[in-house]
């Protein structure tokens, strides 16, 4: 059973690497310029010239999907970083400090977990009308709780270990113990949380953009491409199929990696 798991995560890692490379290299590998219009070929079905078809302005969909990848992947990756950083801090402080600080932070975490995530994010986004960096921050702010809980549990168990007692005995300061002995110990949990957070970040961004409160056109993101495609679903289905497929594949790859990292650890 080990063999397929490793190849599964390899395939997923490769897929993510290709996607990120394609996103970075978008200006070079895209078949057309980002905003090139082919007015003779509007609403064109997928063809040799336009493998993914064209939209209502005659823009090449493959090009837009590639440029959209930059926005969607960046939001997924950076929001995951934000959420994991917040989660790591909250979890580590709660787990290490204990007492009322722990109680306070964990009750706040519980409360955040009770509030329906997507609707809260939608309300925030509708009110703030965020720029892309702001959006990243908002997505990170509503998705740190799982990481915080996992990190806290890990920190609490690490605190009981002998090497912590040893470090304390030789006079290491509390911040040093946390930085040198505790944080490295929670990295596996953080790794799983991060990969899952990337997938969730991409899903949240695309859901927001799908409802028109996320990334605003003309900046392409996979979510807002779907939003625009919604009304012409029956006549030009390709406009919705390809951006959605990209979201699906990316999230699938992230979850597959998180899944196999998690299982390797628990084995």
């Amino acid at each position: 059973m080990t063999q397929p798991r490793i190849s599964q995560s390899r395939a997923a890692l490769l897929a993510i690497a290709v996607l990120v490379a394609a996103a970075i290299l978008a200006p070079f590998i895209a078949p057309y310029a980002a905003d090139a219009l082919d007015l003779a070929n509007r609403r064109g079905a997928p063809s040799m010239a336009h493998p993914f078809g064209t939209d209502e302005l005659g823009r090449d969909l493959l090009t837009r999907v590639l440029f959209g990848a930059r926005v969607s992947l960046a939001i997924g990756l950076i929001s995951a970083l934000v959420s994991v950083l917040i989660g790591l801090c909250v979890g580590a402080i709660a787990g290490a400090a204990g007492g009322w600080i722990d109680e306070l932070l964990m009750r706040a975490t519980d409360a955040m977990l009770c509030i329906p995530r997507l609707p809260l994010l939608m309300m925030l986004a509708a009110t703030v009308q965020p720029s892309v960096p702001m959006l990243v921050l908002l997505v990170g702010l509503v998705s740190w709780m799982e990481t915080a809980r996992a990190v806290r549990a890990d920190v609490q168990s690490i605190r009981q270990r002998d090497y912590i007692a040893a470090a304390r005995a030789v006079g290491a300061s509390a911040p040093r113990i946390v930085a040198r002995h505790v944080i490295p110990g929670v990295l596996p949990v953080v790794a799983v949380a991060s990969t899952l957070a990337v997938g969730r970040g991409i899903l949240l961004e695309s859901a927001l953009s799908f409802f028109g409160v996320g990334v605003q056109p003309p900046t392409p993101s996979w979510g807002n491409m779907l939003y625009q495609a919604q009304t012409t679903m029956t006549s030009e289905p390709w406009l919705a199929v390809f951006p959605g497929l990209m979201i699906f594949l990316t999230v699938l790859a992230c979850n597959a990696i998180g899944d196999s990292v998690g299982r390797t650890r628990s084995r």
Partner: protein, 315 residues
């Protein structure tokens, strides 16, 4: 046991207070706050905004505003909707049956898929492989995209099912009613079944390794009996908790599905109110969603205590 449940109930109150404080803070700290819908309207003059601010009590200190809002909320005074001026509670309550119908259908469908998948995956590696892949795919599937694809396929191309809406009571019969339910319920059920089958598989695997299963096997209980009776019943408490927690999330998480299929539930009310920045409705929705989560968590805790005597002794 009642004492344990009572203790949880007491803990739920401060939790909900923190939730309400968080939501209130969020709404009032964002630029414009509850008035932002008016701020952008060029027909509303600055002096009107100032007058609204005073009449809505927004000029008072924030703690005072919070307390008066909380007091009103607890008493069932959730304010009035900007959209049609009706009480927010009436608007939410009239949408609840449709949401419950959809969630109920989705949960039944998801259980019908997840229970056999999870049970067999625990003992049959081939089933495990297939359902494992299906589950990761199901969890990764963007709900709105899946919904659009189903609409395109079954309503657009094949024309077998209505693409959206919910038929009214009784007038066109059960078949019409069910046909409207199929697509949105499938979308919700796919994600639920994916997660549930994996949880059940893990719980079943742990149980199947327990000594009492070996003992039952030695007494000559059939493999079938072991799996479906001894193991499943032991895995049930954990599984029930997961199911109830996910359902509590659905109470508000069906926002996307309801809105795409124009299902007249609370989720689509939320999306409509979002476009209008109808904050009274949005806040009530988020508060009710949180209350649903807290309540169902409590119910799950109580159920587990009731189903599994070991937890009573441990607590």
């Amino acid at each position: 046991m009642m004492r344990l449940v009572g203790r949880r109930l007491v803990q739920a109150v401060p939790l909900l207070l923190v939730v309400s404080l968080l939501l209130f803070t969020v709404l009032h700290l964002v630029p414009g706050g509850p008035l932002s819908a008016y701020l952008e309207n060029p027909n509303v003059r600055p002096e009107d905004i100032a007058r609204l601010r005073v009449s809505m009590g927004l000029d008072r200190p924030l703690p005072v505003q919070y307390l008066s809002w909380l007091a009103a909320f607890v008493q069932g005074d959730w304010g009035y909707s900007y959209a049609d001026g009706r009480p927010v509670m009436d608007r939410l309550v009239e949408r609840v049956p449709a949401s419950l119908e959809l969630i109920g259908a989705a949960v039944v469908a998801a259980l019908l898929a997840a229970v056999p998948a999870g049970v067999y995956a625990a003992v049959k590696p081939r089933v495990d492989r297939i359902t494992g892949i299906a589950a990761v795919a199901g969890i990764s599937l963007p709900v709105f995209w899946f919904a659009l694809l189903l609409q395109l396929g079954f309503a657009g191309l094949l024309g077998w099912l209505p693409s959206s809406g919910r038929s009214g009571f009784g007038d066109r019969g059960l078949a019409d009613r069910l046909s409207h339910l199929v697509l949105p319920a499938t979308v919700l059920a796919a994600a639920l079944a994916s997660a549930w089958s994996r949880y059940l598989r893990r719980a079943m695997r742990e149980t199947m390794g327990a000594p009492f299963i070996g003992a039952a096997r030695a007494r000559g209980v059939s493999e079938r009996g072991l799996l479906w009776h001894h193991a499943l019943f032991n895995a049930l408490p954990v599984f029930t908790t997961v199911v109830l927690l996910d359902v509590s999330m659905l109470a508000s998480g069906a926002v996307v599905t309801e809105s795409i299929f124009a299902w007249p539930g609370v989720g689509s009310l939320f999306v409509d109110s979002l476009a209008r920045r109808d904050y009274a409705v949005l806040m009530a929705f988020l508060m009710c969603g949180s209350v649903a989560v807290v309540t169902l968590t409590l119910v799950a805790d109580a159920l587990v205590l009731w189903l599994d005597p070991r937890t009573r002794e441990a607590a």
